[in-house]
Amino acid sequence: MSIKKTYEEINEKIRSGKAVVLTAEEVSVMGRELSPAEIVKKVDVVTTATFGAMCSSGAFINFGHADPPIRMEKIRLNGVPVYEGLAAVDTYVGATACDPEKPEYGGAHVIQDLVEGKELELEAWGKGTDCYPRKYIKTRISKETVNEMFLFNPRNAYQNYNVAVNTTDTIKYTYMGSLLPNLRNATYSTSGELSPLLNDPEFRTIGMGTRIFLGGAEGYVSWPGTQFNTSKPKNEHGVPVSNSATLAVIGDLKQMSSDYLQAAYYEKYGVSLFVGIGIPIPVLDEDMARRLTIRNEQIETTVLDYGTVGTPALGRVNYEQLRSGQIKVNGKKVRTAPVSSLSKARKIANLLKEQVQQGSFELVKPVMMFPKNTSLNGLKEEGGES
């Protein structure tokens, strides 16, 4: 009979320091020699990770009340406009927010500065009400002075992502980096066989409530991410061949570190935030073991032309090819470059592995699983054809 393990059994092993933990890269190597049945017997937990620019990120902050109090209706943090529609002194700092006059410093930089303990200038305006008479305040805040600050990222950790190229004769500046003209480079983003959602493509263990590593601290999966899409085509190894599912994640920003949370600015595109995410996956049974041994050559993704309207697909490649430094597109050899950090992702996977081995990171069974059949709506213009 095949072996099945429960979360309770695995957590008991973690507590007693006896859990066998490997990174997803290590278990992929093991999968060349051992069958899924043998891997379930040997391995309890596999750690996955990613460290890439995730634009749909941000932080909630509560500043505390001044005396007399103000109902903040326009707020600037180091000059960056942040959300003013949340009661009197709550805000949401969107990672990509910025003052158009100063596009190189944005919400992500505000978040990084806060994490690093720096003082930021807060300026806020209100109309003045009977209960909030103050109309203006200018002061300095830091992670020590604010009440709460927590990261809440609506769309992170994409399950696979496309490769970006540019077939036009002018350089294109994108969130996938600087794309040189005439197919002179190709960029790719995920950590391949180490990437969280590529190791649990059916979301059997990752769901609402899953405890994760987020930005250097403990975090949680709070919801399926925005643009969560399960209807993308999959290859014979069961992984989608383009960007599909995503995660909404949450965690205490005060505990995080800029080693795993880094602000970024892309030329002629804008601001984004590099987010480090690690997810431990329990090896519950043979099916999970088989999923976790997936290798780069089995994970395929789609090459898209970012230079052309509608980003047409130009072919399909796998991550082994992408990491070799060269792929073929339209019959032409094209140099590849990553735009997310594999070395940082490996650091996170190893750190999480240590934490699970040492008993300081137990697994949480999802309290609710992700939806199985979702697809995306586009956005139609008013009066456009339906």
Partner: protein, 135 residues
């Protein structure tokens, strides 16, 4: 023996002259072509590393100028703030001289000898970790 990098710009009519041949043959200058943009009938540019005795370098450059080729010493270099690097790889996407590469551990490696100071890495780095250093 001195080694120095130069940016050469020449008018369309100089495109058919064997510039490097004369530098080697007449002035005993060793040439390493770092970057070349030569199109028939258009203004061309070359980034060269020239090695030779001070005297020969001087004479060679003077000969270039006599032939309507402008010759500016390349006194710039790229500085990389390594300690803050997250090794994302964005700069390697635009580095065609092969100065910026990912090593076997997927960490960034900067070989300044290969750098031709094309400056594409400066805006390509999302953390703004490259600076042009004017010596």
């Amino acid at each position: 023996m001195k080694k120095k990098r130069y940016l050469l710009k020449f008018p369309p009519q100089s495109g058919d002259k064997a510039l490097s041949y004369h530098l080697v043959k007449d002035y005993d200058i060793r040439i390493n072509i770092l970057k070349a943009e030569v199109r028939p009938g258009k203004t061309g540019s070359l980034v060269l590393e020239l090695a030779g005795t001070s005297d020969n370098l001087k004479k060679g450059i003077s000969w270039l100028k006599d032939n309507q080729v402008s010759c500016e010493p390349l006194d710039k270099q790229i500085q990389w703030n390594q300690s803050r690097c997250i090794h994302c790889g964005n700069c390697t996407a635009v580095c065609f001289s092969g100065a910026l590469t990912m090593d076997q551990n997927w960490e960034l490696n900067f070989n300044s000898d290969k750098c031709i100071v094309c400056e594409l890495c400066v805006p390509a780095c999302p953390l703004n970790l490259f600076e042009i250093d004017f010596r």
